[in-house]
Amino acid sequence: MPHIVVRNLTVRYDGHEALREVSVEIPDGQITVVLGPSGCGKTTFLRCLNRLIDLTDGAKVTGEVLIDGENILAPDTDLLRLRKKVGMLAQKPQVLPMSIYENVAFGAWLHGVRDKKALDALVRDCLKRVHLWDEVKDRLFAPASQLSVGQQQRLCLARSLAVEPEVLLCDEPTSALDPISAQRVEELFFELKERYTLVLVTHTLRQAKRLADYVLFFYMGELVEHGLAQRVFSEPRDERTRAFLAGVIG
């Protein structure tokens, strides 16, 4: 059974339909790229998967999102357990107002890792996994906001990893970065898919082609087409997908 199953997911913002009857299964341990032009519901879809959509004014969500068989849209869902399992990386790196060390250690500390040595090891391990350790090991207690934007995004990734999620949602995670930082983050995703299920939103076709194992193509709130990346890119079945891939729309 796949980790994430979406059934008839519909999201309305004050009557306007942002997502319409989306049903799809997201494969485990792969990079699923959510593709489509701006404003087609990609981010809305992503925010349903960790219920961050709850924070959006006027959003009304219907349908089912099953994660490990449990409908997380049910009102009695334990959001802490859900969000611990399903981590998120935002579009613009958003460090927390604390030191580099604390940014990584903080989540884990709140989730019960209180031993100083264990925390130190965790911070080192997470920072190494995002290839940031060598750049910051001498200034772990400096404010995180002093890092460059590219470093901040990797720190945000390390921070998510420290909570030990199983799924990582990434909302256009490289769009605010310079090309070199963006490339480094992309390389990280390849390493991470060994251990995590990644769902990555992008509106750049080239990035989708580089990263995707599986593709969901959204257009105007509708899941137009989904399938293995190779298949979708080489033989798109829907007219709109073809138009998007050819650069006619989007």
Binding site: N50, G87, A90, M98, S99, F106, L110, H111, A144, R159
Partner: protein, 286 residues
């Protein structure tokens, strides 16, 4: 005149208006400060600061205003601490994460704006009525409670604004890490909003220590230092009021000295708190 010239003229005119307004404002404030400083300095002596009034003080004799200095500090610090204990939870409740999006929050904000506009003599009168009902006399505790209500609306509204300035994305980052609302507030929002929160406390303290009307009936006035919360207590604004009413020039100079002390106290507290906040806001994300 061409359209372009007219737009340049308007730009110059508007900038002129802004600079004039600012000059008028700073000019009058500086004049006020200068008057208080010069006149206050004349009446100032070491004895003023460290001595209690003597029986002849109000006729131009010896004695100081230590009673009012200590009283004002006790009143304002007490009220600010008490107000802080109430204002922060209320300001947090007003955030969209809690009740901020409800009608209740809108109503509460409206009420606070209204309370902000209530003259402090009204708080004094209500406080006095309460004291009478309780069978107490005017005392330090009564003054602290009345001042707390004077300070609360400013503090809550200023804190509300400061907390709402924290970027939504930052809160979402915290929620994505599976933090509860309280953990998000406690560890992320309050930290990020700290300079604004400090400003809120300072604004409230400034209003509290400078207010005469609310403590006039509730804290009373005395030449002695209070020994307990239930003793009457003097305060600088009330001292200024009394001393300035005196026909003796000597005593009037003391009034200016008291006003000067009040200014210096507010300045000292502001500077110290700012320094503290600067140390604590090292990790702020700008």
């Amino acid at each position: 005149m061409g359209e372009l010239t007219w737009r340049h003229c308007k730009e110059a005119l508007m900038q002129g208006t802004m600079v004039t307004a600012a000059t008028l404002l700073f000019g009058s404030l500086l004049t006020l400060l200068a008057v208080v400083t010069v006149k206050g300095w004349q009446g100032m002596s070491w004895a003023m600061l460290v001595r209690l009034p003597k029986s002849g003080s109000y006729l131009g004799g010896e004695g100081g205003i230590l009673n009012a200095i200590v009283g004002s500090l006790l009143l304002a610090v007490g009220a600010t601490l008490l107000a802080l204990c109430l204002a922060l939870p209320v300001a947090l409740l007003l955030q969209p994460d809690y009740a901020g999006r409800t009608k209740f929050a809108q109503f509460l904000r409206l009420l606070l704006n209204l309370l902000w506009g209530v003259p402090s003599i009204v708080y004094g009168a209500c406080g006095f009525a309460l004291l009478v009902a309780l069978g107490w006399r005017a005392c330090l505790l009564g003054g602290i409670i009345a001042l707390t209500f004077v300070e609360l609306p400013i503090m809550v509204r200023a804190m509300d604004e400061a907390l709402r300035m924290v970027p939504k994305a930052m809160k979402e980052a915290a929620y994505s890490l599976a933090l509860t609302r309280w953990e998000t507030m406690r560890h992320v929002v309050v930290r990020q909003a700290l300079p604004g929160l400090v400003t809120a406390v300072l604004l409230a303290f400034g209003r509290g220590i400078g207010d005469a009307a609310s403590v006039l009936f509730t804290a009373g006035y005395t030449d002695n230092l209070p020994r307990s919360l239930f003793d009457p207590v003097a305060s600088l604004p009330v001292a200024v009021f009394f001393l300035l009413n005196s026909p003796f020039a000597e005593v009037q100079r003391q009034a200016y000295a008291a006003a000067f002390v009040l200014l210096v106290l507010v300045l000292l507290v502001s500077v110290l708190t700012r320094l503290l906040a600067a140390r604590l806001s090292r990790y702020l994300v700008r």
